[in-house]
Amino acid sequence: MYQAFVGLEIHVQLLTKSKVFCGCRAAFGDEPNTNVCPVCMGYPGVLPTLNRQAIVQAYLVARALDCELSESAVFERKNYFYPDLPKNYQISQLGSPVGRNGRVDLDLGGSRRRVPIREVHLEEDAGKMIHAGDVSLLDYNRAGTPLLEIVTEPVLERGEEAELFLQYFRRMVRYLGVCDGNMEEGSLRCDANVSVNRPGKGLGSKVEIKNMNSSRFVKKALAFEIARQSGLLDRGAPVAQETRLWNENRDLTEAMRSKEEADDYRYFPEPDLPPFKPDAAFLLDVEKGLVELPSARRERLVAEYGLGPDQVDFIIDEKSRADFFERTVALGADPLAAASWLGSDVKRLLNREGVELAESPLTPERLAGLLVLLASGRIHGKIAKQVLEVLFAEGKDPETIIRERAWEQLIDAGAIAKLVDEAIDANEKAAAQIRAGDEKPVGFLVGEIMKATSGRAEPQLVRSVLKERLAKSR
């Protein structure tokens, strides 16, 4: 048996309106090379200026990862030549990044694993290249958009753990509102380093893996790579220190062309940007952005509302969903009913309509209204589902819907008594049978009344009034 050491290097595109060092729009899907200016295109004589929102978000993530926050974050030039980099250097951080020595306590389903975070640093993204036959097409709209890099220590041992970490991390940045977390579109990217060795022997040769654009691919790629390296060690073959790419079509990692010499980026302090020194007002803004994180919220929702494990996982997966849930409960809905409706009927309708909860006609006020109607017996379960359907179709309040359609359950004793009398008059034979002590036709008469009221009469009430009436006249 071998021991595997996996470290992750995660890049997140921060959600700012403009680029990190110039005012160009930071948007995706625009016409190529429309969001470019002399600063992000690396023209001589220009002056980059740090985007305050980007550095707030960078410190916020570092804070959420329990990092030591830098008192002086220094920007440096990382020099290399590649056509996606118009300046021939990337503004990044090396010696004094935004945050260092953080940690995540990862829930591995039963056990916990502390994952130390080596560092969090802010840098600029590169442009995009499309390779087409003899040529490559360059689009620099992305060049200079803010990118945050997070590096973990190599303490993960299996593909599943890396997947869990990534899911945790993705949820966290979405809660913080700093990244949309879309791995397929590349707004969250993950590379990994893997080494395998005999237990107690420390790290083996380090292999970098790239091109895993979903958390599932991270799991599969790492499982493959750990098995591949273990196989080499079994045969006594050396593991080459190299960079490999995940091939999602063939389910394996492939060696990239290896470079002969080690990278030499010749970092030096960016002369155009002063080190950033957070002051009290800045740190206050960072604290303001620090929302209750998913793991803490999970624990609180279980303790406060008694949600089950699957229920709570579903509720906290999205911050907007958890907020919706708590607002609904605050408006008087039963927590378990609210969680169960959100996880079943509401989810089904959202999927069917292809909309997000936040954009749907359902609001916490409306869901709470519906659940209160149900809990107080004014409507019954089947009608409640129909109300939800109408609510989605017409965007009206539950009260309005049941009034317009006369769906409110009949619980008025006088009205029920009248219905019962009518049913007895119309079904002399059945009534006589009951009077004679034969209870069999009771169900039939209740059914007739339910039919006459399109299911609105409260069945228990109908049954008891009916028995009372027929007992009395005996």
Partner: protein
């Protein structure tokens, strides 16, 4: 300076040096490197590195978009373009 080192440095800077240029440069660059080694002898123990002499305070801007007026000109400056893409020989 060793010639080999000079060639590595030149290749990092994407410079092609002829043998003649390398000969001339190695002496000159060697001299520069010597200046640096003199600087290295200074005792900087317990001194915070000075990255900037003049920029002492934070300089940030609010996160606001400034429409780029120069975008078309910048694309136009490229030796070759296709639509709004800048075109280069395939580098893959």
């Amino acid at each position: 300076m060793e010639l080999k080192e000079l060639y590595v440095t030149a290749s990092l800077a994407q410079l092609d040096l002829s043998d003649e240029e390398a000969e001339t440069l190695s002496a000159l660059v060697g001299q520069m490197v010597e200046y640096f080694s003199t600087m290295r002898e200074i005792d900087v123990e317990n001194l915070e590195p000075t990255t900037h002499a003049l920029l002492k305070t934070n300089r940030v801007r609010e996160d606001a978009v400034v429409e780029s007026a120069a975008a078309d000109t910048l694309v136009g400056n490229a030796p070759e373009s296709e639509g709004r893409f800048i075109v280069i020989p395939n580098v893959l």
